[in-house]
Symmetry: C2
Subunit: 342 residues, 2 copies
């Protein structure tokens, strides 16, 4: 593994440093080639470091740089307002650290619209890309994975936007999932050619014409986890609704299985049986849980930008950092650019 530095907005997310600092320490412990630049309020960061002081080896401490910042972007700010007052915020400084080459990628759990807006202005979209998109890897019931985009960065999308998402998603899937000629599908409310928005039907025609894409047609919400497509393309509104619906369903089911039993004495026996009978299935179900699987990425930009769930816990934010590190090492932005120019 190569040495690399990531810039983190440690103030982003619903909880901030109480989550992001322990997660940063965990990521540094797990990846000895990783360095982190932490942007945030040192009055909130230092207590977290003090709490964990017995776990911070000198080796970890020297790969950790804190940049004190007193301003943050709030989740409740509109994108326009957030961008106007972004100067000197933890999110903006983290992105600027990537721009000036101090870091090779960044991660934040903050305001998605602001992150997208700032990343577009500061890091710039790749040549030819109209709109970067939010992409994530979904586990499928057959034990494989799909990628899905856009997940909320662009709520209104025209056919050209959706077509570009298909291109970027296919390249992302090739590299991240190690697939040859990944199957691309468009999320729609029916599989017949006449269903859905005009933009979706037009995008369908555009994707069909590009022989570099392995287009398999429309996909409906009930097949998202069934492994029938490797790349699922959608506008950001429907994509976000679908992803959150999946996550909610998975969390509810795990809650049911873990929690509300009627007879506590039988629970250990049940747990043991569950493990034997359904080991792989249960793992698969757990993997839909956003805690296990956190970190969407903004793709179509010149550098790696990972967006953590706002509600991420320590494990989840650690996974977002690891995801950013992996994408930097895989050179995903360069590969998307190469793919577009083919």
């Amino acid at each position: 593994m190569s040495r690399l530095t990531l810039a983190l907005d440690v103030m982003g997310g619903d909880i901030g440093p109480r989550i992001t600092i322990p997660a940063s320490l965990k990521a540094l412990d797990d990846d000895p080639m990783l360095s982190l630049l932490l942007f945030g309020d040192s009055r909130q960061i230092q207590p977290e470091l003090d709490k964990a002081s017995d776990k911070i080896s000198p080796n970890i401490r020297e790969r950790l740089v804190i940049r004190h910042v007193s301003h943050t972007i709030e989740n409740s700010q509109s994108v326009t307002d957030a961008l106007r007052h972004s100067k000197g915020t933890s999110m903006r400084l983290a992105i600027e650290a990537v721009q000036c080459g101090e870091a090779q990628g960044c991660a934040s759990g903050g305001n998605t619209g602001a992150l997208m807006g700032l990343a577009k202005v500061i890091l710039q979209p790749l040549k030819g890309i109209q709109r970067p998109a939010l992409v994530s890897v979904l586990p499928t019931m057959d034990g494989n994975h799909s990628v899905m985009l856009d997940l909320g960065a662009n709520i209104d999308c025209d056919a050209e936007n959706l077509y570009q998402f298909a291109l970027m998603g296919a390249i992302f899937a090739e590299n991240r999932l190690n697939l040859v000629f990944p199957r691309v599908a468009l999320l729609n409310i029916g599989v017949e050619a006449i269903k859905g928005y005009k933009s979706i039907r037009e995008a369908s025609e555009m994707i069909k014409k590009n022989t570099a894409l392995n287009y398999v047609g429309f996909i409906e919400g009930n097949y998202l986890l069934n492994g029938v497509a490797d790349v699922i393309v959608s506008d950001g509104f429907a994509g976000n609704v679908a992803l959150k619906t999946l996550e909610g369903a998975a969390q509810n089911v795990i809650g049911l299985l873990k929690g509300r039993s009627r007879n506590d004495l039988l629970k250990p026996l049940f747990g043991w049986l569950m493990k034997i009978l359904f080991r792989e299935s249960y793992q698969r179900l757990r993997s839909i849980n956003p805690e296990q699987y956190n970190g969407a990425s903004l793709i179509g930009l010149t550098s790696v930008v990972v967006k953590s769930h706002g509600s991420a816990n320590i494990n989840a934010f650690t996974n977002a950092i690891k995801d950013a590190a992996l994408q930097v090492r895989q050179q995903i932005p360069q590969k998307i650019l190469d793919g577009l120019n083919k």
Copy 2:
């Protein structure tokens, strides 16, 4: 229970009479006050009746009228094309039977757009309603239910449409779920006031101003099953994606739990434990399965129109028929009209 007649389009759905005829016989057997007018191809209907002849008592036979129709509307037809060539089709004739008073409600598993278009033209929206909507009852994890609309009848919705869905949904929930002052939420991609489409934000303001509605704000996809709202309002595209995503997740989980065990010898023990530990929870999970819970309704029309899933099996189509009968007996259209005029 009162005596009533329903008109069925038995050609609608992916399979047609092989599903709809056994379902009709089951519904007649279960409800001695129900009569059915079946519109469809008698060459396909008769063999199904012959197959079941030993189960058809004289009492059932006399509550069953077959109207031979050779034309049907296909799922792949565009709405415009379907409406233009709708004359004499099973779907149109079933709706016309309601218009002329031969039946008090109708059900079809056919083309949703065509069903909505024909119902709007022939049965007319209630006074003041711009667009009827597709509504369904969802089970929630706490053992209760929510209603959700629109589920696919109107893919592009403005603020006024969404506002009317909220009004109709609240009245539907009051009557069907027997609730007082049901909590209304708008499906969005975040709970902050600045999230989502302009139409959603405007609808939010309109609903807030109507003190007859118990508005609780935005709801995200991951809370759809959590019982935080009794009425979930959405445009038809996102609503359809969310519903199908939920159904797919539930079916996958049930598949996991039922099916793919690694050790068949332990399965009976597991099943027994499952039953003891999670009886209610498991039932709740099963109830999200579209087979258990089929039949969305077009509301905002002068009469009851139920849309079954195209992929409904016999039990599911039986449930759609029962749903239509219940709504007729509950006088849902009249109650919506009364509620709107309050």
